[in-house]
Amino acid sequence: MNKPRLVLSASPHLLGADSTPRIMMTVLLSLLPVVAAAIYTFGPSAFLILCASTLGALLPEKLVGKQGSLKDGSALITGVLLGLTLPPGMPLWMAFLGGFFGIAFGKLIFGGLGQNAFNPALLGRAFLQAAFPVAITTWPKTGGPWMALRGDNFALPLMSPQVVDGTTGATPLGLFKFEHVPTSTSSLFFGSTSGSVGETCAWIILLCGLLLAWKNYLNWRIPISIFATTFLFTGVLWLIDANHYPSPWFMLFSGGMMLGAVYMATDMVTSPTTNLGCWIFGAGIGLLVVIIRIWGGLPEGMMYSILFMNAFVPFLNRATRPKVFGAPSRAELRAAKRAQKQEDQT
């Protein structure tokens, strides 16, 4: 009998088909329609911003990341996601800086993929929000020729953008918060409003999210609990005073809610590992978004809510670990303790 060279590997000898690069690539592919919609809406500016933030994210990964860590595609996703959250008219150097900061200080400092505590794309954006509060809230007007730039993309590095008055618009959330002008849900849903590069077209993001959830590449509990909490909380407020508070549909489809709930909050590394944890995590984000949007100083709170809840993830993971099979339940433990105490007393 012929005897082949035998392999000796550890069990299990059968592995599932999913792999980390495959997950990353699928997420990236699912982002393509979102990117396409962004370019359709905002023209070349959107494309430039996405390129700049992606380059910014790839550079530190290439310089100091582990050998071959570019291959897993995670830095690429961070870059694209960051680009999608920025206003299209922002100077490119800022987008680049955001990507660089997000990866260098949000991810590599923790040891690279899988180790970071905060979503690197959002951390990059939070950095930009804190560093350049004006540039990141300067939104272009909708409409106009497709080829035109939507702002001063080509401002020199470290220099301020030259904003021409009259070309700036306002996001639906900003309009609501500061001028109390609501935007119709249909224009939010189909993306004809002003806003960040990739956040205006709700239905495309939702579809891509459904695809990812079906592939089990995102934990559907997170977006569902975010949506449910936001909807219920706003709904209650809206029923109390419909003139003062926005409608729950408006809340759900405006701003970065869709992009954040589908792509940011579900980042595997920075969301809880337990399902119960995911429910709480999502509910926390939903609550915070409503609180910040309605009572806070900023019109949009998605980014901060997710970052804030990111910080709770290690804690949630610990607190929501399921009861191990065969171990006594909490109630049983309590009963045992009580019995012990009684025994001690007698």
């Binding site: 060279r5 069990s11 299990p12 059968l14 599932g16 792999s19 590992t273 337990t274 099979f325 171990a327």
Partner: protein, 442 residues
């Protein structure tokens, strides 16, 4: 009292059972040499009763139980003891074994040892002794001496015999064939168990992917016995004792406890069939049904092989290796152990031989953990393999114990689902071995 037909979590790997599910069992020619390791079961190894040069007949006891948690070993063929020396053991080590040179022209007729009229003549105690003397161990893979499971402490009340016909490991069809071909033996074995334990109720749990087995078993249930055939969800590791109990009765075996502590005795269907054989034919456990399968073997088959047959002869009987065969596994692909030596013998607890191809074993890149949580969703005992894995990589075994490492049964679900291909169950195995060497019970 009864739960659902499934437990929570677990995985569903591709089954590959179609390769052998319809293959009837067949005998193979006796090999030239039979190797019988003294430690074929959990517990103390057996003590040899023969010396080099002794002639033994098929079915003779050649080694006696080394204690209560131990069973004798019987010659699985007539022949001459050539040596008692170290031989490759399926667990990867070398261990003491009795080597038999098989008589070429022997009829291999066993000496009759029929236990007549056991129903009237034997007390439960005597039945259990007979089972021990028959060398019986769990044949599903764990090889736990059967009589130990049947000897609960006197104050423990048992109310259910649970027959494990799940066979959740992919590829394997051993139990499947036992049930299809020998349903009466399974029922007879159940009858014996019920008598000796004084339990009135038995349930046979069978995964739904074996409809023929379910049907045949149902059709053959003796009218005077309360045996229920329960179809179960197809899910790995449905056949793990604790999972099966949870699925059928919704009871949880407490950490560190045994099924008997919650009133249940679980037996593999093949073991039960062998119990019947002991009392029916008088033959001890000297042969077993074995699935030889995988795309790396030319003719996947279900065989009846003498215990101690080397792998080589078994593969020979199945047409040998295919062109691209690459890995030989004893047991199922999820928990089985890869073999490097083809002289390794089949043991009482070996439920199958799976030969994988180069394609199946292609090395895969390992990536950092991305905390996707899939392992938590897969772990049937609700551990946090993600934390355990990272602790294991830092060799922080003590903290691993705090995270219930001892509950882990190395089923491999976490490794199976891990998209980063982190060998989690291997890490846990190493941790357990290291802790055990320090005398920690895990």
């Amino acid at each position: 009292m009864f739960g659902k037909d499934f437990f929570k979590h677990g995985v569903h790997p591709p089954e590959f059972k179609e390769l052998t599910a319809q293959e009837p069992t067949r005998r193979i020619p006796f090999p030239k040499e039979i190797i019988l390791p003294l430690a074929q079961h959990i517990g103390a190894p057996a003590v040899p009763l023969v010396k080099v040069g002794d002639r033994v007949e098929r079915g003779d006891k050649i080694a006696d139980a080394g204690g209560f948690v131990s069973v004798p070993i019987h010659a699985s063929a007539s022949g001459v003891v050539t040596k008692i020396a170290r031989a490759p053991h399926p667990n990867g080590s070398w261990s003491e074994a009795i080597h038999l040179e098989v008589d070429t022209w022997s009829a291999q007729e066993p000496r009759p040892r029929i236990i007549s009229n056991w129903q009237e003549n034997l007390s439960p105690k005597e039945i259990i002794d007979a089972i021990q003397q028959g060398g019986l161990v769990g044949m599903g893979g764990a090889a736990f001496p059967t009589h130990v499971k049947l000897s609960p402490p006197p104050e423990q009340k048992l109310d259910l015999i649970l027959l494990n016909g799940c066979e959740c490991e992919p590829y394997l069809t051993t139990d499947h064939r036992s049930m299809v071909e020998f349903p009466d033996r399974v029922h007879l074995g159940t009858r014996i168990l019920m008598k000796c334990l004084g339990v009135q109720k038995a349930i046979v749990g069978i995964e739904r992917n074996k409809p023929d087995a379910i049907e045949i078993m149902r059709a053959t249930v003796p009218s005077d016995l309360d045996i229920e055939i329960l179809p179960l969800e197809v899910k790995y590791p449905q056949g793990a004792e604790k999972m099966l109990i949870k699925a059928v009765t919704n009871r949880e075996v407490p950490t560190g406890g045994l099924p008997m502590h919650i009133g249940v005795v679980v037996q593999n269907v093949a073991s039960v069939a062998t119990i019947a054989e002991i009392f029916e034919t008088g033959l001890p456990l000297i042969e077993r049904i074995l699935t030889v399968t995988g795309r790396g073997v030319r003719q996947p088959r279900n065989l009846i092989v003498p215990i101690g047959t080397p792998l080589e002869d078994i593969l020979q009987a199945c047409g040998g290796f295919a062109e691209d065969a690459a890995e030989v596994i004893m047991g199922g692909p999820m928990m089985g152990i890869a073999q490097g030596n083809l002289r390794t013998p089949i043991l009482k607890g070996t439920s199958g031989v799976v030969v994988l191809t180069t394609e199946d074993v292609k090395p895969k890149d390992v990536y950092p953990c991305i905390r996707c949580g899939h392992c938590l969703d897969a772990c049937p005992v609700f551990l946090d393999p993600q934390i355990l894995g990272s602790l294991g990589l830092h060799q922080d075994y003590e903290t691993m114990m705090e995270h219930h490492l001892s509950t882990c049964m190395l089923c491999g679900c976490c490794s199976y689902v891990c998209p980063s291909r982190i060998p989690l169950s291997h890490i846990f195995g190493v941790a357990k071995a290291s802790l055990r060497s320090q005398g920690v019970r895990v």
